[in-house]
Symmetry: C2
Subunit: 223 residues, 2 copies
Amino acid sequence: MTELPPPTLDDATRNRAELALCGLMAYRELTAFERLSSDARFSPTIIDRVALARLAVHEFGHYERVVEVITARGAEPADSMEPFVASIDALHDRTRPGDWYESLMKAHVIDSVSGDFYVAISRGLDPDIRRLVQEVQALDEQNKWLHERLQEALQEDPRLASRLALWGRRLLGEALTQARRIAESGLFNDALITPDGEEPLSVLFSELVENHSRRMAALGLTA
Amino acid sequence: MTELPPPTLDDATRNRAELALCGLMAYRELTAFERLSSDARFSPTIIDRVALARLAVHEFGHYERVVEVITARGAEPADSMEPFVASIDALHDRTRPGDWYESLMKAHVIDSVSGDFYVAISRGLDPDIRRLVQEVQALDEQNKWLHERLQEALQEDPRLASRLALWGRRLLGEALTQARRIAESGLFNDALITPDGEEPLSVLFSELVENHSRRMAALGLTA
């Protein structure tokens, strides 16, 4: 994504794309909080439950940060989130984890793919929005924990590998389908168009897939 | 409860009761977090969802505070929580809210009754534990929000009143049954016995019921 020159946007278009991106991030973080904290109950141990709960609380903190920005811009958070409610709810409904490990994997895959997607959208946007995106996606510590916990689980029970690899591919497919739908919704079109006329979606999508494969390989899974 | 003189406990008994109380509070706060945040999804509006989510995050903060105290005393949080897991899980399973309003009511009733119960147990315990109990139960702001939101809902739809009054009585019954079971478990017996030989459980229970009735009356509901 970094190879593409950022698009030049007029003020109205940029402002619209910025609010839309904030609404998208806010609703995703809010629902990630709700789903993760519900899933936490199915954790194998209390320690794991708490770890997942802490992750969820972290996502809620991101939600509150994004909402601050929306409000500071004079917009209504509920209005900004509204265009994304149906599609994000549908994504969650189509990706209900069957157990705690699938829940970890979902957090790992969907958070990462979404993060990459937000970064791509924000390329031509204001520096403060790009910083917000970085902040919301500053999941280093959590992703490290998710990665290590998944690795540990895979070592303890090698039969998990094929199930989680399959689940990872399904999650990627769902995340990409949603990203494409959002990219084509018209809310971000201009923000995703490059000045040299290159078709940025194909570049973006191949990069999303590549990053995903690298993460799966790091877990010893076939992407 | 304040009328009863606090019991005098030897160090070992007091220490045991303190760790048990911390374990009880920790597990209750953790599960309150999990249940509230799951219920949040069924809220009528995004604003209500966020309010319930924020309440849940608050409970998780309490959990972390209590766990700090357990750890500082050299105990293992999971061990301290263990004696309460089955009964608290069972309480939650028997009190699954049918909708968002029942979820609000559950938070309101169970948090309040539990708080009164913790205060009663902590009478003869160390000042730092009594402060911790106060902190965990410092739900003033949340209880105010819960109260106002319930009041608003009852005004909008008067048919809610009989349903929520019935639900409130069921919640009280379940909470008292659990409190009695915990009081009789032997973990807190000494902490709940007064020096003048008065049977403190009956005093405690009538006070729990009285406080509950006052809260229901404040909502215009028949307790």
